[in-house]
Every structure is written in C-alpha cells, then in structure tokens.
Symmetry: C2
Subunit: 455 residues, 2 copies
C-alpha cells in the first residue's frame, strides 16, 4: 500500500545512469526510503566509454557497481531488475521478476538506446556504443580486423584494405573515428610484422550536411581539419541505405569495409511507451517545467528520456543535463516532502532550468573541440581544448574510486603509446569474414593491399 | 620449403602460455625466425586468474597481448590462429585459416583444458577456470547469485540458501573457495539491504580422500583448518555423479546449490592427438629427456601438454615447469643451430631437469599453504605463507607492464575491502533460475532463508 502522510515516503528510481545516481544522491539525506532499479549492476561513465572500445581503458575503470556507489546511504536499496509495467493511478511499478513496487514519488531515468531507423537487423553488423558490453564488442571487432589482415598477409602476401566506417558524425562518431585512427597509426605500429596498421582508413558517414551539428560552424570547421590531420575522411549528406557484412551502401554506391560502427541515432528507452503519457517522435516523454508528465506531479522524467525545452531548444541527451535533472527531481521531491511535513512550501514553484556549461568532443589523443559557455565563453580547439576536456573528465570521475588510476593509465598510454587493455575476448569471427579461412569475401584482387613489410 | 643448413632456421611455436612465451624469449637472441601461433591475442597470467573470477582484479591486469610482450624482437612474428594438422615428416603445420607453416624446429605448448570426464554437457553448468572468458563468466555467476537473492528477498521476504559448490579440491578449487568466502563475508557485507551475504555457504567436493593431494599431509591439515576458519566445508571421497541446473548429485544424494564451479580435472590440449605420437591416458605427449616425442628431435613438447617424469613422478602442469621447459627447448634449439653453424656441439646431450622450487596455494585474503623446496626447505602456512605467495607472484608479474598497478589494486582491496572489478556483464540468467521470475526452482519452503535485515 502507498504510504500515508505520516510515514516515510517511498521513492522509486528507475535507471542508474547520471540522472538516477544524482537523484539518489540528492534524496539520500531526506527522510525517504529509496529503491533504485537498474538492469545492470553498474553505473557506466559513458563519456569515456569510447576509450574502452578503443582499448585505452578497462571496463572496471569507467564502470562501478551501483551498490558500491550508494552503499553508505542506508535509506537506499538497489535492485538489479527491470520495470515492465506501470500503474500511475495506483502508484505502482511491476518489475520483470514479478515484484510490485509501490511509490509516493517515481523518477524514471532509463535513458536512451540506439536507433537503427527501423532496421534492427543492422544492430549486429554495426554495433553502437551505449554499454560496457557494446564497448568490448567494438574493441573485439577493431582489434580482430588487424589480426585477420596480418594472418592473411602472412599467408597470401596481400590483404583487403582495412577500412573502418563510422555511421554518424556526432560527438560519439567523431571520438570513435579519432581514436581508431590513433590506434592504427600510433599504438599498433610496432606490433605487426606483415601489415602496416597505419594504412587503415577511417571514414565518417554523416547523413546531414555537417558533422557535430550541435557545434558552431567555426568549431565544425576545426573538427574537420583535425580529423583530416588524423587521416579520417568525412562524407556528409551520405544516407546509408543498407548495412551488410563487409560493406555498406550509400545510395547506390557500395563501400567495402572491415568494420562498421553505429553512431547515427538514438531513441528513448522503450520504457517511455509504457507510461501512457505523451511522447515526442523519438519516444521521449514530454514533460512540464517541473519534469513531470502532464497531470502526474509525483512522476519525474530525467535524463535522455525527458523531452525538455530550454529557450525553444530541446535539452540534449548528454551527461550534464541528466545530472542536473536528477538533482532537480531530488530537490523538488524534498520540497514536497517538507510541505507534507508542515514546512511552508518555499520553492515549490521553482521550475527546472538547464544550466549549459558547453559541449566538447575529443579528436584523437591530443586535440578536441570545446564550445565553452561557463565559467567563460569561448570556442576552443586543438590541444588546449583537449587539456580542458581532460581536466573536466577527471574532475567528473570524482566519486569514482579509480579516477587517479584512470588518469595514470591515460598519462601512461598517451605518453608512451603503450597498450592499455588491448584484449580480444569472445568469438574470433567478424561479420563479412569467413572464420575458417579468414578471407574477407568479394574483395577484387586489384584492391588488395600488398604491404612492403620487413619480414 | 624447409630451409637448408645455410639459411636462417625457422621455429614455429604453438601456444602463447608460459612455455611458449619463455621459448620465444629464449630464441629471440638466436639467428632464427620465429612464428608464434595462439588462438587468443593475449597471454594470461593464470595463477592470478581466480582473482579476476572473484572480482578483485580486471582482465587487463593479468592478461597482455602476446604481440606487445614480444614486440621488440624483430625475428618474432605472432599469428592469432590455430593449428589443425601436422606433417612431422615434411615439417609442416596447417593452420585453421589455411596457411601452411614450414619449420625446422617445432615447439608445441598448447597446454591443457578442462576435463569433464566425458560429461561435456556439464561444462555450461559448472564452468572451469582456464581463460579470461572463463573468469568473467564465473564472476558473472557469483555476483548474479547475490543480486538474485536480494531481489527475491525484497519481494518475498525469503530466498533459497546461497550455496556455491566447487567440484575439485586441488589448488584452483581451494583458491576459488577461499576467495568466494571472502567476497561473501567481507567485501559484500555492506552492499545489500535485504540479504546477509555472509550466510552464503561454500563447499568443496573432492573425489579423492584428501584435498591438495600434491601437498604433504601437514599442509593439507593446515589448509583444512584455514578453510574451516573461512566457513568453507569440505567433502572428500565425494564422487559427483550428475550436475544439473540448481543442484549436483553426489552418489544418490542431491545437493542444492546456486552456482557450481569446476576445478576437478584437466586434460591435455586436443592438439596432442593430431601429432601422431604416443600419449598418456590424459592425452599428454610422452617425451624423452630432451622433451622430444620419440624419433622427432626437431619437435619439442612443453608445458602442460608434455608428460615428463622427474624422479619417477610426473612433472605437474603448473607455471613453473612450463616456463622451465620453454626455456630449455629454446636453449637446446640454440645448441643444435650452433652445431649446424659449425660449433662443437657442447651441451647437446644435456637433458631437461625440472627444478622444483615448491608449491603454494592461497586460502582467502590472508592465508596460504606453501611447500617451499628452494632456496630453503620448509612447510609454511597462514599469513607468512600468504606473504611469500604475494611476493613471488608480484615478482613473476615482471614483464607485465602493470605489475605495480596490480600490487596497488591488491593492497587497496585487501586493506580497505573496497570493490575491485565487480562488474556483471553479459546475460542476467543463471542455470537453475528462471530469468522471468528470478526464482530458483524446487527449493522447499522450509529451506528458504529469512534474513533479519534492517529494512
């Protein structure tokens, strides 16, 4: 049964991402009992996930068990489970394993997932980057591509061109492209005897007219220059019409590739649909200025799942607004609880405002673009922007036990070009390769690469 | 074609474990060309693998790409591939991807794998511990067991007993049992709200009359005492007759359990059978005093795959003899190459001798048993033995870039009880559990555990 006014209020938080963790932290000091539910046992520091995908960091360096993060707060319990249905009228959430959670306040912060624009069959061929599992799968494919080329060349003297295609030119696509280029040109150079990893090609396919659409034009231009410097090619207005093992189609043009990665689109967590409230076309829940869906002042939608507008623009689905929304929901619930306990209700009309400190994306190991809006305004690029990126990300890893370890690992890797965590685990197969013979299908002889190796 | 006397000799090494890596290191300074072939891209420091399985260390801390280990030796190439057939007369090895490697000398060091005594269907129900993938699978199952019990108790107020069964009481079984007990009693104590992780039971089922059969009786006794102190129960003469989801059968007795792990038996790598030379009953290649199968002075079998006897006892399949065999094979090949290049053939009659420095196994986080034979003789146990174990293992991680990082991680984990790498990745299912409802099947109501939690 839902608790009355005179017993401790129950708050259920769905999702242990930036929004959910920040909400839980904010609520921890209030006289409420909190249940946080997540499908995973760990919180993932998503801004650094691409570094796991490209073998610089290990999963445990950027992911931490949610239980551990929240362990000192005795009024928080964590369940590794998943919501499957809601009864907003009765204030109840049904979990996948059958449990029924009753709440006084509900925070839904289950984030977003890849959108393959209706072509879910592409997911296996072009993995995206949202989870630790995604990151290790991308790492496996990228590293395996070099291994396969090496053994083909050992046997036949040639290998098909190593080509990595990244579909999508937003921050994730740009960061992946830069990091793959780094791996190929710098870190792997001394590891192979037959192939020259630096011949690997990296190409971004962007459907719109510009990469980094959310950035001002001068920084877009800088990003293009910096990517070109790393040998990354960019095609804009490139509409991918098919993804197949070993190639993608752009319109009627076939582009052969070794590995395809997806950074093109996200859609809201499917949980939004189960709430029975209005959604936008990407499945985000349309909320009011208090982050409530219309008519549900006890339900808060936070993070990527929320459609919030600020000055006529939708607040982007990145870490910063998610953290702010989670903190806001906790604060607002605190005010409602205080009112019920007899306080004067001060601040109950204070709406959510997104405080935009800016955006940044790294481009390889020593460049970045940063559109800084606070504490000063400025468009930064190149190495200075990269240093800013580094400092901010180390700062936000605070709370992560291992932020110093991560910094040390970075410093080591960036200064010495030594391997970070270059492990291939799982299958030895790649889509488009025949696992028995290691030959990429359908590559015409004249396109094969003949390395001029030392052996 | 095989090279003649006046060109550089070709050495093919199969396997990048302790034997293969040590052979490659030994051969690197000789005027030979070396090809090392391994199915994995990484060398695994197996003595610490159980620490990955129990979430103290991350995979990248105890595994390193073989390419990186050997990168500075320009006469070594590494192929991520697998031998599938041999022609010892023509001196050729066929790889899975089709390549044909010709050699003057062949070193086969492909190690061993789990033996389920003909019951390969048990492999999925009771994973063993040989690879990084095995370790993360064990980690997943152990951590998931606690998560499932927590959510059952949150819903129903009770959970089936948490019971971890380890089949096999050798060093691996003892180390796994001690580490699981530690996790449950120490590291997880503060993380859960409903269950008491310390109520988890850990039991070793050993088929023979004694655990740690290779150790002297006084150390066996110490190990039993130290395990009892950790709450680990031991059944000897316990012949497992069946392994099923949620239980194992010992004779006609059914023992319900949450997670079953396999540490009972190993068999030689199946590659031994393909050589067409005499094997022992476990599939190990019977070699002469030069590590050659009879009649093949150009073929060396090293590590777990070799059946070598020293003073009438078979040399055990652990790291120390594997390293010594690899080094010996390199040295012996060096002498043969020198003879062919006109040297006097000094030392060509020197046989392999195993120099046994002793054995040790940890029991939890601050005890061990050590049967030390060099540089002094002694039976050590408890905390002093654990300190010896720690020093030796850090020493042998030399060559691993990250040995200091590992030491720091250990020190941190052991001193603070903080989580190391407690991530659950992959599926959320356990054998014997219904993923939809999270209920372990068939547990009678009277056996359910009712925690007296604080919530």
């Amino acid at each position: 049964m839902a608790a009355g006014n005179n017993v401790r209020k129950r708050v259920v938080i769905l999702g242990g991402g930036f929004a959910g963790i920040n909400a839980a932290m904010g609520l921890a000091k209030l006289p409420v009992d909190i249940t946080l539910v997540d499908r995973k046992n760990h919180h993932t520091f998503q801004p650094l996930l691409y570094q796991v995908a490209l073998a610089v960091l290990s999963p445990a360096e950027i992911a931490q068990p949610i239980r551990s993060i929240l362990r000192d707060h005795q009024n928080i319990e964590v369940l590794m489970d998943e919501a499957v249905s809601f009864d907003l009228a009765q204030k109840r959430v049904r979990l996948k394993t059958g449990a029924l959670l009753e709440y006084d306040f509900l925070i839904v912060a289950t984030g977003s997932t890849h959108s393959y624009f209706g072509r879910d069959d592409w997911a296996k061929l072009a993995p995206g980057l949202k989870t630790v599992e995604d990151a290790t799968e991308i790492r496996r494919r990228v590293l395996l591509a070099f291994e396969l080329a090496e053994r083909q060349t050992q046997e036949a003297g040639v290998h098909p061109p190593l080509k990595f295609i990244i579909i999508g030119g937003g921050p994730t696509g740009v960061e992946l492209a830069g990091a793959i280029s780094d791996i190929a040109r710098l870190y792997m150079a001394r590891d192979f005897r037959h192939i020259d990893p630096a011949t690997a090609q990296v190409e971004i396919l962007e459907g719109s007219p510009a990469i980094l659409a959310a950035y001002p034009p001068d920084l877009q231009k800088k990003a293009i220059d910096q990517l070109a410097h790393l040998g990354v090619t960019i095609r804009t207005n490139a509409h991918v019409t098919d993804v197949q093992p070993g190639y993608v189609m752009v319109g009627n043009e076939r582009i052969d590739c070794t590995v395809t990665l997806w950074a093109a689109g996200v859609q809201a967590s499917p949980l939004g649909k189960l709430l029975g409230v209005p959604l936008d076309r990407r499945g985000c829940v349309i909320v009011d200025q208090f982050l409530n869906p219309p008519g549900h002042p006890d339900v808060f939608i936070c993070g990527d799942l929320a459609h919030v507008e600020e000055n006529g623009h939708q607040v982007p689905g990145v870490a910063q607004p998610a953290m702010q929304m989670g903190a806001y929901a906790a604060k607002h619930i605190g005010r409602m609880v205080a009112r019920d306990l007899g306080s004067d209700g001060t601040g109950l009309n204070e709406p959510f405002h997104y405080f935009d400190k800016g955006d940044m994306a790294t481009i390889g190991r020593k460049a970045a673009v940063a559109n800084i809006k606070w504490p000063f305004k400025g468009h930064w690029s190149g190495f200075p922007a990269w240093i800013v990126w580094l400092i901010i990300h180390i700062f936000f890893l605070i709370g992560f036990r291992n932020r110093l370890a991560v910094f040390r690992q970075w410093a080591w890797t960036y200064l010495t070009f030594q391997d970070g965590a270059r492990l291939i685990t799982g299958s030895q197969d790649l889509p488009g390769w025949d696992s028995e013979y290691g030959i990429q299908r359908d590559t015409p002889v004249e396109q094969q690469v003949t390395p001029t190796g030392t052996r």
